[in-house]
């Protein structure tokens, strides 16, 4: 049987079932075009992990609390990318302050941080030497699986004590990027205006703040 996106994901992420008690909740992919688009979703009673491919590009896994992932109010906002979780873990406080800055003048400094820390793992993946595209895709998924183990172990075990902290950082990064971009184009937009443009995301964060006693 030919290797497909779903079969490679199942192989690379088998550890979620064997070591963390997840089950395969959903798997679907384009039936005609190999490695074009698809989604694989794993769930435990506490956590959810989604891995997707879109026009041939495999995304880093996204993670949610299981109950939030099943809440229709937060269908878009509940997941956070492993890329952001790793970014939060590998940056210094000073670097995070720069990344969260609303000043468009920090753009080059941000590019330097992004490149040095390889947020999207682009340099890491280029260093892989697989002999064919299936092997390279397998290596890519194995790398994502390893990053998931390395940086999201507590979340995979259902320990979400730092969940709000992560979500606040993710929200702040999105806000900062939008505000810097608007200001680059000469438009002075407020935090409130930007937050209002993504109602579901703000509602989710506010619900978390209440839950964690930070409202």
């Amino acid at each position: 049987m030919a290797d497909t996106f779903v079969s490679l994901v199942k192989s690379a992420f088998r550890f979620l079932e064997d070591e963390y008690g997840f089950t395969l909740a959903f798997a679907d992919e384009d039936g005609e075009r190999l490695f074009y688009d698809g989604t694989v979703l794993y769930e435990s009673g506490l956590s959810a992990v989604s891995i997707g491919i879109d026009r041939g590009i495999i995304s880093l896994p996204e993670i949610s609390r299981a109950r939030d992932a099943q809440d229709r109010r937060f269908k878009w906002a509940s997941y956070i990318s492993l890329s952001r979780i790793r970014e939060y873990a590998i940056t210094t406080a000073e670097e995070r302050a720069t990344l969260l800055s609303h000043d468009p003048g920090v753009a080059l400094e941000i590019q330097r941080i992004e490149h040095a820390k390889d947020f999207g793992l682009a340099q890491f993946l280029r260093s892989k030497g697989g002999s064919d595209r299936i092997t390279r895709r397998r290596e890519e998924l194995d790398a994502y699986a390893q990053v998931l183990r390395d940086y999201a172990d507590p979340l995979l075990r259902g320990h979400f004590s730092r969940w709000l902290e992560l979500r606040e950082y993710d929200w702040g990064r999105w806000l900062a990027e939008r505000i810097r971009r608007e200001r680059e184009h000469g438009k002075d937009i407020s935090v409130r205006e930007v937050e209002a443009s993504y109602e579901e995301g703000l509602a989710y964060l506010q619900a978390l703040r209440r839950e964690y006693g930070r409202a």
């Binding site: 878009w76 590019q111 992004e114 999207g120 999105w174």
Partner: protein, 178 residues
């Protein structure tokens, strides 16, 4: 700290510096302008609709890929056939595929179509690996502004701000229902 890797000229123009973005991938197939235009044109479905669906094919919250979303509502959308996809997939030519994808979007911008997203705009902004992020940047460079209608984020040509609601009500009224 090492210096930042330079984005491609197009990445710079679109304000996307991240190395993982398809807009910053090398070109490997050496496609001619004619070939790019021909493949892009063949990949545009429902070419007469004033609406054009964009967004994600997969991932959390995506109840249907943007292609199905477009087809269901009779909107234009971009998708290549399997024989074309095999060429790009075999060559791992993401940068070349972006050339085709962007040509289809530029064509829709030229025709002043209204773009309808199947995911929130804010989700696209954080999707640094996706084709969707350079798509929305490309569209916005063409004189578009964001609106929300029936729970869908849309990008509207500025000259259609007075009429886009009636256009949508005429050609895809089910989009108006939240």
């Amino acid at each position: 700290m090492s210096p930042a890797a330079a984005p491609t000229l197009e990445g710079w123009l679109l304000g996307i510096s991240r190395a993982e973005s398809p807009v910053n991938q090398p070109l490997t197939l050496g496609l001619s302008e004619e070939a790019i235009s021909a493949v892009a044109e063949a990949g545009i479905h429902n070419p007469d609709s004033p609406l054009f669906a964009i967004g994600f094919s997969s991932g959390p919250g995506v109840s249907q890929p943007y292609t199905q979303f477009g087809a269901q509502h009779g909107m234009g959308y971009f998708a290549v056939d399997d024989d074309v996809w095999q060429v790009f997939d075999a060559a791992e030519a993401q940068g070349d595929f972006w050339q085709i994808n962007s040509q289809a979007i530029e064509e829709a911008v030229t025709q002043r179509r209204i773009f309808v997203l199947n995911v929130p705009y804010a989700r696209v902004e954080s999707a640094t690996r996706s084709f969707s992020l350079p798509e929305i940047r490309l569209i916005e460079m063409g004189g578009y502004v964001g609106r929300n209608i029936g729970g869908h984020d849309i990008l509207v040509p500025i000259e259609l701000l007075d009429s886009y609601q009636s256009i949508i009500a005429t050609v895809a009224p089910d989009l108006l229902a939240p």
